[in-house]
Symmetry: C2
Subunit: 344 residues, 2 copies
DNA sequence: TTGTATGCGTTATCAC
DNA sequence: GTGATAACGCATACAA
C-alpha cells in the first residue's frame, strides 16, 4: 500500500487516471473515453467529473505523448526575440493556443552551434512541428527533421528545396512600392541598405528596389547599394558610406528596421536631418517608429496575419495527414506614409 | 513482426533505445547507463556510439518524463512579448539552455481566462518550473501549482504570500534616483505617470517618486500623479491631464516605456517639445529610445541580469531538493542620462 | 457503452 | 559493469 505518503519533501505524485477511475467507481478505459470526448453514460460522467475535480486530476501529457506520439508542442527556432520575432512569437503563441498547442522556443542568436543544438533538443522533445526563419547552412539538419516526420513551416526567410509549408510577405512588391514612392516624390538618387543578399528576404527586397528603378528607366547604380548585414552597426556603416558619396543619395530605403535604427544613428551623429536632408523608408514597423520625430515611413509587415496563417496551415497539416501538397502563402504589406519622406 | 513498415504515409517511427541495444549487441540497460553518463566498458561504449549515429537515435523526452517526472521544460507565462518581455524571454531562453532546459511559453494578454488556461496547460505538460510576472487574482491557481510541486519564480511584478523565489530590480531606489535627477536640475513640478498601483512594480516606482520629493522637502501633490494603466493610450491620457493643469509639470517621470511612448504621443500631438518644453525620464530602455531625437533619459533594467539570475536560482532549486528557503534577489538599475532632460 | 489487457520508450532494481 | 524485467500513465483493441 502506498497510501501513506511518508516523504513530504519530494514532489507529490499527482492523481492519475487510475485514481480517478477508482474514485468514480468506473473502469480506467471509461475515464479515458471521457477525457477524449467519447460518449459516456450520464451517471458515469458525473462521477468522473466529480473525481477529477476532487483529485485535481490533470492529464499527463508525457504519457499521452508516449502513446500517441503527439505532444501538442510546436517548436519555434528564431535568431532573437526583438520587436519583429517577439511580435511574431506573441501572435503565433495565441493563434496556436486556439488548437490546444503552445510554443517551445529556442533562440540561437545566429550561432550555428546553437541552431544545431536547438534542432537536437527539439527532436528529443518530439515537437509536433517546427516553425522557423530559414537559415541556409541548416539545410541538412532541418531536412533530417522533416524526414523524421516533423512538419516544417518557414516564415520570414526562405530555405529553398525543403519539403515545407511557407508563409511569407510579398517582400519584392512591397519594397518596390516603397521605393516607387520615393521616386514619385522626385528622388532620383535612392540608396538601399540591404540585408545579407544570400537571405531570400534581403534579396527579394533588393530586387523590389531594382524593379522600381527599372520601371522608371533608372539604372541600378551599385554604389547606392550598401550591405548592412541586418545589424544596427551595419546600418550605420552602410549609411556613412552612402552619405560620403560625391553624389550622396537624397533618400534611403532600409531593408529592415534594425538597420534603419543604424541609419538613424548615423544621421544623428552626422547631424543629418530627416526628412529635411534625406528621406528614409524602412521595412518593418516597430511600435516606436510611429513616434520618432515626424514618424518613419515604413513597409508594415502583417505580423499577426503571418502568425494566423502559420497556425491555420499547421492545423490543417497536422490534422489531415501529411499527404497534402506543400504550399506557399504570401501576405501583402501595407505602406504607412509618415513624416520621414518628403519631395526633393 | 512489425519489421515491414508498410505504411509510408505516417510518421516514421524513430529508433529507440531497444534498437540501439540490439545493434550494439548490448543490453538495453547498458545503453541507458551510457546515455545517463554512467561508466561503461570501452568496447561497449564504442558500439553504442556507432549505433546511435547510424540509427540517428534521439532520446524520447516523453518517455523519460514519464519515468522520471522531469521534462526539462520551464513554463513562461507573460502578458505579451513586447520589447521588455521579449528581451527577457530571449535572455532567459539562452540562460536556461545552459542547463539543458527550454521555455514553453504562454501569452495571456492580460486576459484572466487565458491565464488560467495557461496554468492548466502547463500543469498538463508537467513543466519543471514556472516563471512569471505576478498577477494578483491568480494567487489561488498559482498556489495550487506550487503545492503540486512546481517551483515558481516571480519576476517583474510581485505576488505576495506565495512560496516562491523572486528576482526583481530595485524599483523604488531606481525611481527615486530618476526623480532626484529631475529635482537636481531644478525641476519642482514633476509629474508621474504610474502603472496600476495594485501592481508592486508600479507601487514601488511610485514610492520611489515620493521618496525623492520627500527627501527634498517637497510635498507629494496628487494632481501630479496620473495613472497610465501601463498602456500607451493611458500614458497619452495621463499626460494630457497633467499638461492641462494650470500649473503644468515641467518634467514627467513615466513608470514604464510603454506609457512613455504614450507621453511622447501626447507631446507630439500637442506640439510640446522634449526637452525644451518638458523633460522626460522613463523606466525601461527599449533599443529605440536611444535614437529618439536627443535620446530619452531612462532607468535601464538589467534584463539580462534578471534572466541569468532566474536561471541560477532555478538550477539550484531544481537540483538540490526543495527544502532550500525561498529568496528574493533585487538587481540594481542604471540610469542612462540622455537628451530628454534639461534644467528648467 | 464498459471493463480488461497490452504496449508506448525509458529508468531503475535486481541478481549476475 | 552487465543483462533481464518491472514499472511509469495513458490510449486502444478486444471481448463482454
Amino acid at each position: 500500500m502506498n497510501d501513506d505518503n511518508s516523504n513530504e519533501t519530494d514532489k507529490p505524485r499527482s492523481a492519475t487516471i487510475v485514481d480517478v477511475a477508482k474514485r468514480a467507481k468506473v473502469a480506467i478505459g471509461t475515464v479515458s473515453r471521457y477525457l477524449n470526448g467519447f460518449p459516456i453514460r450520464r451517471a458515469n460522467r458525473e462521477q468522473i467529473e466529480e473525481a477529477i475535480q476532487a483529485l485535481r486530476f490533470k492529464r499527463n501529457a508525457a504519457a499521452v505523448a508516449m502513446k500517441t506520439d503527439v505532444t501538442h508542442v510546436v517548436g519555434l527556432l528564431a535568431p532573437s526575440f526583438d520587436e519583429f520575432h517577439g511580435a511574431m512569437l506573441e501572435h503565433l503563441s495565441r493563434a496556436l493556443r486556439r488548437d490546444g498547442r503552445a510554443l517551445l522556443i529556442y533562440c540561437h542568436g545566429g550561432d550555428t552551434r546553437l541552431m544545431e543544438d536547438g534542432l537536437d533538443y527539439f527532436s528529443t522533445q518530439r515537437i509536433d512541428a517546427l516553425v522557423m526563419s530559414g537559415v541556409a547552412h541548416l539545410f541538412d539538419r532541418v531536412d533530417q527533421l522533416i524526414e523524421g516526420g516533423v512538419p516544417l513551416i518557414l516564415y520570414d526567410n526562405d530555405l529553398a528545396g525543403l519539403k515545407a509549408d511557407r508563409v511569407f510577405v510579398n517582400n519584392r512588391e512591397a519594397a518596390m512600392h516603397a521605393v516607387r514612392h520615393l521616386l514619385d516624390i522626385g528622388h532620383r538618387r535612392v540608396g538601399i541598405v540591404t540585408g545579407d543578399l544570400s537571405d531570400s528576404a534581403a534579396n527579394e527586397r533588393y530586387l523590389g528596389y531594382c524593379d522600381a528603378l527599372t520601371e522608371r528607366g533608372l539604372p541600378v547604380d551599385q554604389q547606392y547599394v550598401a550591405p548592412g548585414h541586418w545589424s544596427i552597426l551595419g546600418g550605420t556603416d552602410a549609411t556613412r558610406r552612402l552619405m560620403s558619396l560625391r553624389q550622396a543619395p537624397t533618400a534611403i530605403f532600409s531593408s529592415n528596421y534594425v538597420m534603419a535604427a543604424g541609419v538613424l544613428r548615423c544621421f544623428k551623429d552626422a547631424k543629418i536631418r530627416v526628412p529635411d536632408d534625406v528621406s528614409l523608408v524602412s521595412f518593418d514597423d516597430p511600435p516606436l517608429f510611429g513616434l520618432y520625430e515626424a514618424g518613419i515611413t515604413v513597409v508594415a509587415q502583417p505580423i499577426n496575419g503571418v502568425a494566423q496563417t502559420i497556425a491555420d496551415v499547421l492545423e490543417r497539416r497536422l490534422r489531415s495527414a501529411r499527404e497534402t501538397p506543400f504550399g506557399t502563402t504570401s501576405l501583402r504589406c501595407d505602406i504607412i506614409l509618415r513624416g520621414s519622406t518628403r519631395p526633393v
